[in-house]
């Protein structure tokens, strides 16, 4: 299945959840936030949130800025 992850084309299994994506990206326990199709996905729903073909996923963190 193809999705867009942080602006790049990205391929993943059809049963991918946010949780599995996070694990696969080695971001478990990191301070991040995730948006799917412009909506924030609460951490509590990472397990249940199933990705769909064509989803636009953004994974963000805090970085230096003023």
């Amino acid at each position: 299945m193809n999705i867009t992850l942080n602006g790049e084309a990205f391929e993943c299994n059809n049963d991918t959840t946010i949780q599995s994506l996070v694990e696969q990206q080695k971001l478990v326990g990191k301070r991040i936030a995730i948006e799917v199709n412009l909506e924030v996905v609460p951490r509590s729903q990472y397990n249940t949130c199933q990705l769909q073909e064509g989803d636009k996923v953004e994974i963000v963190h805090a970085s230096g800025g003023g």
């Binding site: 992850l5 942080n6 602006g7 790049e8 990205f10 990206q25 080695k26 971001l27 990191k30 301070r31 991040i32 936030a33 995730i34 948006e35 412009l38 924030v40 996905v41 609460p42 951490r43 953004e58 994974i59 963000v60 963190h61 805090a62 970085s63 230096g64 800025g65 003023g66």
Partner: protein, 260 residues
């Protein structure tokens, strides 16, 4: 001074210097300069995590831990209300529901002036959504009052263009904004050196937010200390009530008792 409180929304602070975390050499310099500044409120940007690479890169929030500092996520780089709102929501999730944000919606890349109409629009949406907003704006007293009336917890007029270091370009406008305000007025952007920070405080501002003036100094950590003192000096001078300016001289030593 340390007994005096700066109240933003329900939060209370002792430091009146707010600092950003951009443009530093590395996270260690960020950490040391932030510490030296004595700041309690620290702004951060929200950016994409790197995918499939150095997942172990050091994290800003380890250098600036949220349990020690009040993290103020900003919407830097947003040119539309929608992007600003998305950024704030992601920040809130990232910070476990922390709802204090710095809203800036920019008008163009050359001046980095705010887009006032988009800023008003975003302010309305974010307040409906339960955010506490510290808002970056121009130095127009009418707009500043409008933002306060909409419910922003702090109004942050620019002193000069972001990163210009030109100091308070228009003290009259800042003074006007301060005189009319019932929420903290925090000068955001444009300060270049310690005396600029002192001037802002002497005008009656409640605080100053800066980044480049510290990060782009030859010695950022020492400049952070200078800014801390400049802010305190300006605040104390404001509270102490400066002498009136006079066109003519007036002797400090008495004439009486002269023996010559």
């Amino acid at each position: 001074m340390n007994t005096e409180i700066l109240k933003i929304g329900q939060r209370e602070f002792h430091s009146r210097l707010l600092v950003g975390t951009g443009k530093y050499k590395d996270l260690e310099e960020t950490r040391l300069a932030t510490e030296a500044s004595g700041a309690e409120i620290v702004t951060v940007a929200i950016r994409r995590s790197n995918i499939g690479q150095n997942a172990d890169e050091p994290n800003l929030l380890e250098a600036i831990p949220p349990d020690r500092y009040t993290i103020l996520p900003n919407t830097a780089g947003c040119y539309t209300a929608e992007d600003a709102v998305r950024t704030c929501r992601l920040a809130r999730e990232l910070l476990d529901g922390h709802n204090l944000v710095k809203l800036e919606v920019l008008g163009d890349e050359k001046t980095l002036f705010p887009d006032i109409t988009a800023t008003l629009e975003a302010t309305e949406l974010l307040i409906k959504d339960g955010f506490e907003i510290m808002v970056y704006t121009n130095d127009d007293p009418i707009i500043a009052k409008r933002l306060e009336e909409m419910g922003c917890v702090a109004v942050m007029p620019l002193a000069a263009p972001i990163g210009s270091g030109l100091g308070i370009r228009n003290p009259y406008n800042i003074l006007e904004i301060v005189d009319n305000a019932s929420v903290p007025i925090i000068v955001d952007a444009g300060v270049g050196t310690a005396s600029d920070a002192a001037v802002a405080m002497e005008l009656g501002c409640d605080g100053v937010l800066m980044n480049t003036a510290i990060a782009a100094a030859r010695n950022p950590v020492l400049m952070a200390s200078a800014m801390k003192k400049g802010i305190e000096a300006g605040r104390e001078a404001f509270l102490a009530g400066r002498m009136p300016r006079k066109r003519y001289a007036s002797a400090s030593s008495p004439i009486d008792g002269s023996f010559f």
